[in-house]
């Protein structure tokens, strides 16, 4: 039970930590990709 709680807590931390850096990064990449598409227009 305690192991399961610890696993759940770790997964939540991982989700939050990767979301914290991943969301801004993906947003930035999409912005850049949108601009980069002008090369093919």
């Amino acid at each position: 039970m305690s192991n399961a709680t610890q696993d759940g807590s770790t997964k939540l931390k991982l989700f939050l930590a990767w979301g914290f850096v991943g969301i801004p990064l993906v947003w930035g990449v999409l912005q850049t990709l949108t601009n980069a598409m002008k090369l093919f227009q």
Binding site: T10, V21, V29, K38
Partner: protein, 473 residues
Amino acid sequence: MELTESKSYTRSLIPFLDRSHSIAQPGFSRWLVPPAALCVHLCIGQAYAFSVFNLPMTKLIGVTQSAPDDWRLTQLGWIFSLAIFFLGVSSAVFGRWVEEGGPRKAMFTAALCWAGGFFISALGVKVHNLWLIYLGYGVLGGVALGIGYISPVSTLIKWFPDRPGMATGMAIMGFGGGAFIASPLSVWLMSRFSTPTHIGVMETFLVLGVVYLFFMLVGAMLVRVPPPGWAPAGYVAPVQSKKLISRNDVFVYDALKTPQFWLIWWVLCLNVTAGIGVLGQASAMSQEMFPGQITPVAAAGFVGLMSLFNMGGRFAWATTSDYIGRRNTYFVFMVLGFILYCTVPHAGSTGNVALFVICFLIIISMYGGGFSTVPAYLKDMFGVRYVGAIHGLLLTAWSAAGIFGPVIVNYLREYNITHGVPKAQAYNNTMYIMAGLLVIGFICNLMVKAVDARFHMKDSDGVGSAAAAAAKA
């Protein structure tokens, strides 16, 4: 004596920041460390996007157009140059302190310096004093760049002994990706704070300072170092040691005495020189080589695509190096780069835009890959103990390349044009020179052998052979 000094060196006024307080507890997932590193690298990667402020800062007084008392672009260009210069200086000077103090203290310091740099720069904009911006963003920000850049390197390598290239590649990818966030965010913030009579640079600096401080402090809180002797579950260190992967550590200043350090310094310098020159001139070069085919708008798109490959290459090539080896990865950079640079003039003369774009996207991915693969290369050569500090010293190669690359591209272009070479062919010689530089890089890489055993640390107290000899003397 040396040991006592070394220990006191790492003691902090805030114990929470000490290495000993950031040792991971059982159950800690090592996959939390890369996002901690990314928190720092994504923030300091803003440096690549600083140019978005250049034009607005030439109109702070005139607003719609530059007034006589407004700053000129040439004056503003020094801000970025100073920051990159102090990146090299601080990573070299503070490398040992970062290594011994631990990642949390280094990230915390980098956060304060980085945010402080923005706040001082905001004051500089407010009172219209450029020297304050040189001091804020240039000096203090540059110190933050150096400390922040190297802060997570050795920690990541220790957490991922099975995949050190991938681990450092993830963090250094963040440095390439930071501009993707900073550029549109800065433009948006300036548009929000600007009025018909005011340009919102000061407010943007203040907001960015607060946001970056928060992000970087989260990274500092999140980061952990592995307990002594820790290894990933199921990981078995190779029984038979490979020739170019050392199990011994080399003291940071002893590394400077080895030919390996300087060979890798040149390998990095030449690889970066080849990439940085074309990165800065990509827009103009593409339009001049393909007049009528690549418009200014398309060229801007090409630059954006190159930035994406620069970032992606940092992760992809460093990860690849875990499988094919560090030296082989650099061989690929040099050989493939040579072929591609030699192909570019052909693409220009035949008007083959697709071939030109493909060549440069691969070249720029290898430029990024050069940065991200080198920490693991150093770890293979000099061990884990001082890899962050040694990496800091090696970053001076970046500063040198930052001068060589653009100078070669710009001056050769000017020389060719003034001697009657058509603009479309003005870059051909440059491409062949870049290819030549990669041949030299190939030879340097070929000469890299295992570090001589006399440079290996004799004990685990932080005293290198040279330091020990000096202490005895």
